[in-house]
Amino acid sequence: MNKRWLLLIPLVVFFVLLGFFLVGLDRDPRELPSTLIGKPAPAFTLPDLNAPEKMVSAQDFHGQVWLLNVWASWCVSCRAEHAVLVEFAKTNEVTIVGLNYKDKPTDAKTWLRQYGNPYAASPMDSDGRVGIDYGVYGAPETFLIDKNGVIQYKQIGPISEEALSETLIPKIRELKQR
């Protein structure tokens, strides 16, 4: 009798998984989690990747609209969006800050040298503490922050050309008007 009960375990495990998938399907993984939108961007002060003696903090960008892009050299998806960011940075539309997430400085530096550096600054979040404050669940993620330091939009996953031209740029222009 005992043994028969054991045979039900795979079924139960599967149904638990199924439940998660059901909930997961309803949520677009790229969709913004509502918690941080409209809240002030969490403060941070971190050394800059290319000039470790210099500290970068969220406060530095107060008064302007800026993008905080979470990236890492180990992140394959970041590579997919990087070219888009490099091109976008050339337009000088907005300041892009690259939060270098759980990365090794040497890897990160060579990565930027090889693929181009679109970032005005790259604060190093080596242990991922700032990532936790921002609710980062994986790279790449991008936060759009307004002049008052409030998070207005969050993009999860790579920024495609479409996401940039259809969503991000209009939002940036709108925030600049305010």
Binding site: K3, L7, F20, V23, P29, W74, C75, R113, Y137
Partner: protein, 666 residues
């Protein structure tokens, strides 16, 4: 016109699959042999129409019929022929199409190579495959029709994603899907056995070759995928623990366990319940992989368009196929009957322990892959799971697995004693320990962590290799004749195991050496500059424009030399595809048995001197990673060609009609 024929053929295939999935199953349970006999014909008919549909799709791509939405979004007049053909399975619609086409192929193969099986078994196996096929064909027709038309017809197509325009990507999906879908045969056999209440050594013998063949395809598919990531993503990694890669690794791990478990069931009549469960899990994970990739529940480099309708459909399909088979398992498995007995120290135990380890390893990969989803669903916030998690969890599980792999290959069935194992394995152990500790020092490493990691890697590889050799010597000891006669008398299935296990050793050497000794330089180079890495020099000769069929490339020339002797020129490219904005890096690789020399171009530096940022690598023994996978595949194929299967097939064909006896009893 041609797309309509394809569409029509798909509908006919669906109808035939519905018949294949219902009547033979009912016939088998009620003993109506005319209904059972339908299974073979319908399977072959369904395959014919699926092949016709696939042909129509490929034709539409070859002639660039842009009135078909799928062609218009994935092809282009400038796309070369080979990639137009590959584009047929490059899109979402196309990949589901090739999935069902493969299912048709496998079930057609079962209908042909099952002459010696009882009619009832064939009816059930093909019936189960028919049900699965029906589900996927409906998914294809209702949510992802590859033949949908658009109007007005565009003049030019959008082109295939440049990342997929590569020889590796032409082969990768068909191989991978052959593997994924091939496990449906083992699954169908398991479900058929549960339905019929007959689970014994014969059942295991029938499922074994199919499972091994599917496993070979999956191994090759993963290998090609990894190789593609290595040279196409342009930064020299070969495994990224990306959700989509994990989706293919999970069925591989459980499939490997299944292959070994089937061997025990066939030879010793034990582990039956466990083997059935593994067969169900392997195919379930293949389906789950399809779900993960196709539904967009997880983000990854491979992420395709998210369509909740599609996700919901696959989820319902998963619930029916996996849920249904697990319910059947829970209620029918107790009837399977008693197992053979074995002692704690025996080959059975080693294999069982390894099966559990492989399953746990698969579980950790599953957990890591789905963790973000779990936490998000539970509203516990979001968390990142990257390569650090997988390396920290997966590697420690592989160490005991590899150790037991050596023991299992040598231990006796039923009962082995520790002193006996020790006598036979002590030389292997001594050689392993001494050599693996010596190697890091010989290679000039002294830092403790580096020495420990290298010794561990080499130790695992040596242990597998030496214990395989011990097992081999044990075997030939008891056979008469000269050495060559002794070799000739070993069955192919033994050689299969031997070669596949050596493949694991070769693979581990590759991983260990690459991790420990790879060297890379990232430099700014102006024509004339030289950079050296790993004892090789790369001289940057210059860069020139190089037009391709549907892209414009900047092609660099690098002169590779060692000890001032010029070896060859390498031509890495930076390509701009006309239809996509994203520049693509084509690395140039000088590949050899002892490693690769790898150059990839970064960005032009626009300093007027034609300077570029350049990345060069020396990847010693990286080729062994793929060589190991090829050996594993070869081992699988050798085992498949074993004489036993052919002889048994003949013997069973002449045996009494077991079905009738069984039916009378029922």
């Amino acid at each position: 016109m041609i797309p309509e024929i394809g569409q029509f053929a798909l509908i006919l295939a669906t109808l035939l699959m519905i018949v294949q999935g219902t009547l033979p199953l009912v016939g088998a349970s009620k003993g109506i042999s005319a209904w059972m006999a339908l299974s073979r014909r319908t399977a072959q008919g369904a395959f014919f129409f699926m092949a016709l549909a696939m042909g129509c799709l490929i034709y539409s791509f070859i002639v660039n019929d842009f009135s078909v939405l799928n062609v218009a979004t994935n092809s282009n007049t400038k796309l070369p022929l080979a990639y137009r053909i590959a584009a047929s399975w490059g899109s979402h619609e196309g990949s589901i199409m090739i999935w069902v086409f493969m299912l048709g192929l496998w079930s057609c193969a079962v209908s042909i190579f099952s002459k010696h099986l009882p009619e009832e078994m064939v009816a059930r196996v093909l019936g189960v495959m028919g049900l699965v096929g029906t589900g996927l064909l409906l998914f294809l027709l209702l949510t992802s029709n590859p033949f949908d038309r658009i109007f007005p017809v565009p003049i030019e197509g959008r082109d295939l994603n440049p990342l997929l325009q590569d020889p590796g990507m032409v082969l990768h999906p068909p191989m991978l899907y052959m593997g994924y879908v091939g496990f449906s045969v083992a699954f169908a056999f398991a479900v058929a056995a549960l339905l019929g209440g007959r689970l014994d050594a014969t059942w295991a013998r029938w499922s074994r070759p199919w499972t091994t063949l599917a496993w070979c395809f999956l191994t090759l598919g993963i290998l090609i995928g990894s190789w593609w990531a290595y040279y196409e993503l342009g930064w020299g990694g070969w495994w990224f623990w990306d959700p989509v890669e994990n989706a293919s690794l999970m069925p591989w791990l459980v499939g490997t366990a299944l292959m070994h478990s089937l061997a025990v069931t066939e030879k010793r009549g034990t582990f039956k319940v466990w083997t059935v469960l593994l067969a169900i899990c392997t195919f379930s994970l293949s389906l789950l992989g399809t779900f993960i990739v196709r539904s967009g529940v997880l983000t990854s480099v491979h992420a395709f368009a998210t369509d909740p309708r599609r996700g919901m459909f696959i989820l319902a399909l998963l619930a029916l196929v996996i849920g249904g088979s697990l319910v059947l398992f829970a209620f029918r498995a107790p009837r399977v009957g008693a197992s053979g007995k074995f002692k704690l120290v025996s080959r059975e135990s080693a294999l069982l322990a390894n099966n559990l380890l492989l399953t746990v390893a698969c579980g950790t990969v599953l957990l890591g892959t789905l963790y973000p989803l779990f936490l998000d669903a539970l509203k516990l916030g979001k968390i990142s799971v990257g390569p650090p998690y997988f390396e920290a969890v997966f590697v420690p599980l592989m160490v005991p697995t590899i150790f037991l792999m050596g023991v299992g290959a040598v231990a006796r069935w039923k009962e082995a004693t520790l002193p006996d194992l020790w006598t036979r394995l002590r030389w292997a152990l001594v050689v392993t320990v001494i050599v693996s500790v010596a190697i890091p020092f010989i290679l000039g490493r002294t830092a403790p962590t580096s020495v420990a990691l290298l010794a561990l890697g080499f130790g695992m590889a040596l242990w597998v290799a030496t214990s395989a050799v011990v097992g081999f010597l044990d075997r030939i000891k008891h056979v008469g004749g000269s050495f060559s006669e002794k070799l000739a008398r070993q069955p192919r299935s033994f050689w299969g195991m031997f070669v596949a296990h050596l493949g694991i050793a070769v693979f581990i050497v590759g991983v260990t050496v690459v991790k420990g000794f790879e060297a890379e330089r990232d430099v700014k180079m102006t024509p004339g500059d030289t950079v050296s890495v790993g004892g090789y020099s790369f001289r940057f000769v210059g860069i020139e424009d190089h037009p391709g069929p549907n892209y414009q490339a900047s092609r660099g020339t690098f002169e590779l030399s060692k000890d001032d002797k010029v070896m060859r020129n390498l031509y890495p490219e930076k390509r701009k595809y006309f239809s996509f904005g994203m520049p693509m890096t084509e690395a140039a690789i000088d590949s050899g048995v002892f490693g690769d020399r790898y150059v990839s171009l970064g960005e032009p530096l626009n300093d007027g001197k034609q300077s570029w940022s350049v990345r060069v690598y020396h990847k010693p023994f990286v080729t062994w990673i793929w060589g190991g996978c090829i050996l594993m595949t070869l081992g699988g194929l050798l085992a498949l060609s074993d004489r036993r299967y052919r002889v048994n097939a003949r013997r069973e064909a002449g045996a009494v009609s077991w079905t009738s006896v069984k039916l009378e009893k029922a």
